[in-house]
Subunit: 335 residues, 2 copies
Amino acid sequence: MEQYKGTGQTRTLGRPVHILGRGSVAGAKEGRGPLGACFDYVDGDDRMGQDSWERAESRMQALALDRAVERAGREPELLFAGDLLNQCVASGYAARGRGTPFLGLYGACSTLGEGLCLGAMAVDGGFARCVAAVSSSHFCTAERQYRNPLEYGGQRTPTAQWTVTGSGAVVLGREGTGPRITHCTPGRVVDLGITDANNMGAAMAPAAADTILAHLRDTGRGPEDYDRIFTGDLGRLGGRLLGELLGREGVRLGERYGDCGGLIFDGAEQDVHCGGSGCGCCALVLTGYVLPRLESGRWRRVLFCPTGALHSPTALQQGESIPGICHALVLEGGE
Amino acid sequence: MEQYKGTGQTRTLGRPVHILGRGSVAGAKEGRGPLGACFDYVDGDDRMGQDSWERAESRMQALALDRAVERAGREPELLFAGDLLNQCVASGYAARGRGTPFLGLYGACSTLGEGLCLGAMAVDGGFARCVAAVSSSHFCTAERQYRNPLEYGGQRTPTAQWTVTGSGAVVLGREGTGPRITHCTPGRVVDLGITDANNMGAAMAPAAADTILAHLRDTGRGPEDYDRIFTGDLGRLGGRLLGELLGREGVRLGERYGDCGGLIFDGAEQDVHCGGSGCGCCALVLTGYVLPRLESGRWRRVLFCPTGALHSPTALQQGESIPGICHALVLEGGE
């Protein structure tokens, strides 16, 4: 019988799964942000030469994946992909014509984390020698779908976040010398009753706390075992709430904590209120910022915790609250 | 190094993964259909005691999963779930409060097939001793989201299918005596240019042909190696197209072929045009009809091929065509 790889919620890979390639494609505003120079490609007008924003988002995914596959130097055998659009069409259309078996995911802004967990398990289980995970979001496709038509020009509330325009792709494989995934902690659906669609950070913070506490408990580690701990896109407010929730359990992340939604924009200059959000947010920060620092040896071990809010406009109109989810992955520097 | 389990698109599990439990919850029309007596629970008014159809769909998922877990006699350690609703909310809300790590999927009507593939790989890879896969659809939530408000009362075209109201859940595990999964063939995204949202069968038939041909090629098997071969929900027209596409490659499924969309309703009496569709369709047929026949030994080996159409109303309004996908699984009778 094969070895059981679980302890609580956390799975320890039999052998680490390597990151063979990464690709990042960002929108114009993201290109002007603090991480702008980190991305493989920045589009000037967020259109990617397409005639609709939805097609532009699909194109971003295809390009990010092409870049990751090019860096990896090999084709993935399974593709894990998802996005925020209804029926995940950015991913479905991006995968059309690629010829790679396709596993569509919906984990809201946590999708890349879910894809990396499942991709790493597929490689470690012997089901593929090489897989890819990709996700995307686009300010213009998301805003009109989740909130208001862009032309409406509504005032944004102070707790609002700005949906990132961009896509990040990662190719994983058995053999390699780059950064590696050693553990993953898939998260549970947690709902503390937030009903404000403009306060995603508060909706997702309890899920982030739940998964981080489970991860630390399962592995017997403390925050000090990580050089950096990143959440997906809690934003400024959600990050503070996470600190409070963890503090009650005696866990203090301290200076090693960062949030992808806080890193991607300049809070003072770019008028994004609580920070960035969207599937593309943690995907860009991972592929453009975190992985290069693991490759260079600047960081040795990172806990990467993308978060998602599993609501829909219809559910909110029916009075539902917003459940959150967070998947955590341990990334270690290359050998 | 662990053994590589892939041949082409097909993965052969190291050891078969057993189906430990199944649950099925159907709507009223499905309960009056030819398989009505097969389901664990049939609701009288499709409301499940809830105040919205969306909540009713969530409730169906939760109940189907409860029944499957009860039959299995153990709690899953990972939950793979998805549905047709925007942002897959039927699944997200059904999973809230369950406390099981949650992996949200979007594969349109193929979702349960995707969940079973990933679930079987998770068990076989040692990442869980027990997992669950569940999916659902609801006529009233799907029609108003994908086509027209129900009150509009529009004429249905002859190629239209009827979205099934129901949910099916399966619990998988390492040890057991029930039917088992031996192979899975995750499918590729295939698009031959269909743009009619009322002709899903034609949009999905090419994907079904692609996956079935890949499966037979990878395994060196022919249709005669299976007692039955079921597609997800191609309906009457899509089933005929599949026959034509396979015929061109010299493959004839013959009398062993059935389509879940054709089985679930009485074509002559229930006014469903081309048959049933929706994530709930193949989920109900699998859990209510196929698995019991494998359990009883009536069939020894079945190829189960759920199909999905990866479009969205927005994409179709923008002139996009409808890509299809199909995942295939080999199910064998209990030991």
